[in-house]
Point group: C2
Chain length 252, copies 2
Amino acid sequence: MPELVAGCVAAGVRGVGLWREETAAYGLRRTAELCRSAGLPVTSLCRGGFFGADDWYDDNRRAIDEAAELGAPVLVLVSGGQDGRDLDGARARVGDAVGRLVPYALQAGVTLAIEPLHPMFCADRCVVSTLGQALDLAEPYPAQAVGVVVDTYHVWWDDQVWAQIERAGRAGRIACFQLADWITPLPAGVLLGRGLPGSGCIDLGRFATAVDAAGYTGPVEVEVFHELVWQRPGAQVLAATVAGYRSAVGDR
Amino acid sequence: MPELVAGCVAAGVRGVGLWREETAAYGLRRTAELCRSAGLPVTSLCRGGFFGADDWYDDNRRAIDEAAELGAPVLVLVSGGQDGRDLDGARARVGDAVGRLVPYALQAGVTLAIEPLHPMFCADRCVVSTLGQALDLAEPYPAQAVGVVVDTYHVWWDDQVWAQIERAGRAGRIACFQLADWITPLPAGVLLGRGLPGSGCIDLGRFATAVDAAGYTGPVEVEVFHELVWQRPGAQVLAATVAGYRSAVGDR
């Protein structure tokens, strides 16, 4: 955590998205103090969700508390897999669960951001598969309480995503914008197949332009999940990330 | 090939979909004669497509010829990956290529069936990712020349698929209906992760009911791509397939 924070500050990166596990490992309060004293805002906390789990309600309230303590305006929700064969039912359950969390999130000042995950995760990680679905689920609630994540890795294949980004912008619901690039072949389990920005086949610049045009002015989070990238020294990866980002979407 | 054909006949399976590689290995004419003399119709030939390849035009005409020789009414098209970062362009290229093949297909009496593949294949195998897209691409051409494939494995995650199956039925464009089940975790490369019907998370019965309701009266092809299944004796796999099929969708 100290290496990450110092690296971001040194590289001129102006914010960082954190995950709960790593934050807990370093200590929640310690992480919050570290980021605050470094002047590095926490842009989002990943992840709440998994609404099929028995303790989803308590666990998500804890995640909201953690986001609030970190000063993160956004809790990213990975909504959980299908659990059975009733996909419509599983999707409806996500909507109900988000609704139950809304009062708590509003009170904490944390926006719940529903993240559509790539359809290859529909069975086991997230039944919300498109930006349109995420927006449908968010719609009953105030935008301050429930937004969506636009993550290039998950939605790049969708020909309807451009219209849905416009829709999300009009509704003020783009709570988080994440850049990750698609590389092949996919590894077993398909979780750790994301390359550095620019190394894959996604037109990242088009997404950056689209969220800009939709009125999004928040941070851009770059996500890289890949064993080979993770084996490299952090500072080197951060430098490559910044370079890849600049080359893919320009200076913003 | 003889084992396959004899097995289907013995099991009361009334047709078989073939792949080009295996057909060529046994011999095209020999395969055609084998199926004909066994009274086992070839329901489709897999696959044409891959329109990014240099020789796509000649290769697809050969595939049409092969389907005609086998008496297969349908050539399944796997349209090819993105090849660069211009996804809209790649999709438009598929439409153009299909259009160029239409006269040849009509003359041969073979329907070109555009198969939407799961979005996880968008980069490297098929830029047609939804049934809606496949129908949009087919629309300019007569239904006799260009139809679509409904393959449960590729479209089960899509909440718009039910409306698109109705649309496909109204237009008389369901050229092929394939059942395959989704199991996790996905293997590296994600090609060989399909289980026997009933072993996965797809509501196969709902799909069978939907294509029935859309007026489809053609064969149901079961596809199983899995190393562990392929290692078992053919007759055993065929019996398990028939049992899984009956249990998942009933006697039809």
